[in-house]
């Protein structure tokens, strides 16, 4: 018994000392990557390590569902990685936490990552308060997935270019629909379609330096009314994402002709739809003549922890992963669309007709308001949009309540701005 204890104690000591020794001898760069990217980035890293023999990279994969919380707890617990992948909408929050290193200086000096090679709208998503805090790794945005046969049967040979055409096509499709089929599926718990329509109308969403809601303004009101009308006219069903039992089966049987989604569904549609279901992707129609209408700047960026002791090595890794060759490799492994335009080659995303619509769309994307409260505000938008769609609230009533609730959410932000102005 005593011996056992001694051996155990000794081995613990040894394990600890070996661990410490290792860390001192060879600095390890810690990279946190999320979901599927976390799996495949492991296969990109060896080439980086060959080019930089003095740097060893330790990749940790984190599932998307736990990523946000894990990054926050890591920040609070002081165990942040040197480099990490961040959803673009999370950047403002981590900037507010003062967790990200500004990349402007390095970008200016770097020849490997010319800023103008990135899709401008996406690059802008990681710029907060005039400073750049992340380098886009891959991009996504949302646009229309549609059934070409249903659209053609309604007398529209190509995808609609204006809101009017779109509604006309949907109305025609709805007239021809049988059973419980609809022209479009816009899950009621997704804020993106409505916010995209509002951005297309030119809505700013927030005002006064992002400290108050601006939802009663004319552009947002018009987009809101347009969106609500799609449901009230019966063009889209009143369902939420959780109720769709099998999206792909429903799409295959023609339960809806239009669906708003992102590049991750290109691969899914290809593998899950039975052969012979004709579908295509198209950029958004515009409310006016300015085709295509804008969409959201999504995707993920690579960021460097402000407190990292190995920022030079971290930047080298970020530069490496942004190289067109690595972006192409990531595309091949995951289907993630490259953030750099020069990586849109053939073979590669340039050869994929379904990705082509994304390339067009990505030239016209805008980020959502860059404040940590945004997701919470977006949640309120869906709540009131649903109330209006269900006719529980009138449109003006809903927008009034939305402005009121958003102002409550942003109270802290107003207080902080006032305090800053005072000092």
């Amino acid at each position: 018994m005593k011996w056992g204890l001694a051996v155990f104690g000794l081995s613990v000591c040894m394990a600890v000392s070996v661990g410490c020794h290792d860390r001192q001898a060879e600095p390890v760069l810690r990279l946190w990557a999320l979901g599927r990217e976390g799996e495949v980035v492991q296969s990109l890293v060896p080439e980086f390590e060959r080019a930089h023999p003095d740097i060893r990279v330790l990749v940790q994969q984190i599932p998307w569902s736990a990523a946000h919380e894990k990054l926050l707890t890591a920040y609070v617990g002081g165990s942040m990685p040197d480099v990490f992948q961040l959803g673009n909408t999370w950047i403002p929050e981590f900037v507010a936490l003062n967790a990200l290193d500004s990349l402007d200086e390095r970008l200016r000096r770097s020849t490997a990552v010319p800023a103008d090679d990135f899709f401008p709208g996406v690059f802008d998503a990681s710029v907060v308060g005039g400073r750049t805090y992340g380098l886009p790794w891959y991009v996504d945005t949302r646009l229309l997935f549609y059934r070409t046969d249903l659209l053609a049967a309604a007398g529209f040979p190509s995808s609609p270019r204006s809101w009017n055409d779109w509604v006309a096509a949907m109305t025609k499709i709805q007239e021809q629909a049988t059973g419980s089929a609809f022209a479009a599926l816009l899950p009621i718990n997704e804020w993106q379609p409505l916010v995209i329509m509002a951005l297309q109308r030119g809505a700013t969403l927030l005002r006064d330096g992002d400290t108050r809601g601006d939802f009663r303004s004319a552009p947002f009101r018009e987009a809101f009314a347009f969106y609500v009308d799609l449901f009230r006219r019966g063009l889209a069903p009143l369902t939420s994402q959780v109720q769709v039992a099998n999206l792909y089966q429903d799409f295959a049987r023609g339960a809806f002709a239009f669906y708003v989604s992102g590049p991750w569904n290109i691969g899914e549609f290809r593998t899950r739809l039975p052969t012979g279901v004709p579908w295509a992707t198209a950029p958004w129609p515009a409310p006016d003549g300015d085709y295509p209408g804008v969409s959201l700047a999504g995707g993920a960026s690579l960021a460097i922890f402000r407190g990292s002791p190995r920022k030079e090595a971290a930047w080298a890794l970020v530069e490496f992963l942004s190289e067109p060759a690595q972006q192409l490799a990531l595309y091949r492994l995951t289907g993630d669309l490259p953030a750099r335009k020069s990586a849109w080659t053939r073979p590669g995303p340039g050869a994929d007709p379904s990705a082509e619509a994304f390339r067009t769309q990505l030239e016209r994307v805008r980020p959502t308001p860059k404040i940590p409260e945004w997701e919470r505000i977006a949640d309120q938008i869906t709540r009131y949009a649903e109330s209006a769609v269900r006719a529980e609230l009138g449109i003006d009533e809903a927008l009034h309540a939305l402005d009121r609730d958003v102002d409550v959410i942003l109270e802290k932000r107003r207080w902080m701005m006032r305090r800053e102005a005072a000092s």
Binding site: L97, L238, S240, V242, R376
Partner: protein, 296 residues
């Protein structure tokens, strides 16, 4: 002079019982009382993501969070939904449990052990798995329930998508999932009722219904009180069912107090506000428990 007689050392010595209680007590203090006290303190601040960045961004708001709660339309919706769930769900669950327990104790029923196991099965099944299956049961087109209704000539109901039916759907599922536990407790209580009481009642000419009314129910009283209390407390903490099945929708009709607290705290990091929600829920449950104790 013996040591025990020395008044000073006797006072210094800690009673042995205290030593024995110390490990458990310190664990409870460290992992229960301290966090609860911290949460209470948190509920008087506006702790959020900005406060994580810097303590300078933390404000003491006293009862501000509680005042905001009273004005928050979402909180009143969540409160209403939770009461709806409790008021309908608890009697339904208790009724089901009592009915099943009486059936299982009846001499007419065969395979009692089998039925007892089957009825208890939902209790030990993971809720997420149950919810996935029930989502299929509730499916408006292909669901078992709607096909059954169609056979009876009733129209299809969009169980989880219709604001009027979503909460009943959640209640039905919760009752199905939970009645087994109460049933087992009641079966045990039924078995402990002495047979001679029934014999005496029969000799006095009591019918079956009269026996139930005047022997069984009074003898079950304390047990019924216990299971009702446990069910009420559990049902006030409604969370997993709507979280998995509806995410609080449609139109917030299944948003419960705990779901609201979860969203505020762990989705939006409004920890101060979420802590206030938690203490209001605590106060409600405490108040109801005290009230029920006075009534019985």
């Amino acid at each position: 002079m013996t040591r025990d007689a020395d008044p000073i050392s006797a006072r210094r010595r800690i009673a042995p019982g205290l030593w024995f209680a110390m490990p458990a007590t310190s664990a409870i203090v460290a992992f229960f009382f301290v966090p609860v006290a911290a949460a209470l303190a948190l509920s008087f601040t506006d702790f959020d993501i900005y406060a994580v960045a810097s303590w300078r961004n933390l404000r003491f708001v006293a009862l501000g969070n509680y005042a905001r709660l009273l004005r928050d339309p979402l909180f009143s919706i969540a409160l209403g939904n939770t009461f709806y769930f409790v008021v309908v769900g608890v009697p339904l669950t208790i009724g089901l449990s009592l009915g099943a327990a009486l059936l299982l104790s009846s001499r007419l029923v065969r395979f009692r052990g089998l039925f007892r196991t089957l009825f208890f099965l939902p209790v030990v099944t993971t809720l997420v798995a149950v919810a996935v299956v029930w989502r299929y049961v509730y499916h408006p087109r292909f669901g078992l329930l709607n096909q059954g209704l169609a056979a009876l000539g009733l129209g299809p109901v969009d169980w989880l998508g219709d604001p009027h039916w979503a909460m009943p759907a959640i209640i039905i599922m919760a009752a199905w999932k939970n009645f087994g536990f109460n049933m087992i407790v009641l079966v045990a209580a039924l078995q402990s009722i002495p047979d001679n009481l029934y014999e005496a009642a029969r000799l006095d000419g009591a019918s079956d219904a009269q026996q139930l009314r005047h022997v069984t129910l009074p003898m079950l009283g304390p047990t019924l009180f216990f299971v009702t209390l446990i069910t009420i407390i559990g049902y006030f903490q409604l969370f997993a069912e709507p979280y998995v099945m509806t995410q609080g929708g449609p139109s917030n009709r299944t948003l419960s107090i705990v779901l609201l607290m979860y969203e505020q705290g762990f989705r939006w990091w409004s920890m101060g506000y979420a802590a206030a929600v938690a203490f209001v829920l605590f106060a409600i449950i405490l108040g109801l428990t005290l009230l029920q104790r006075r009534l019985t």
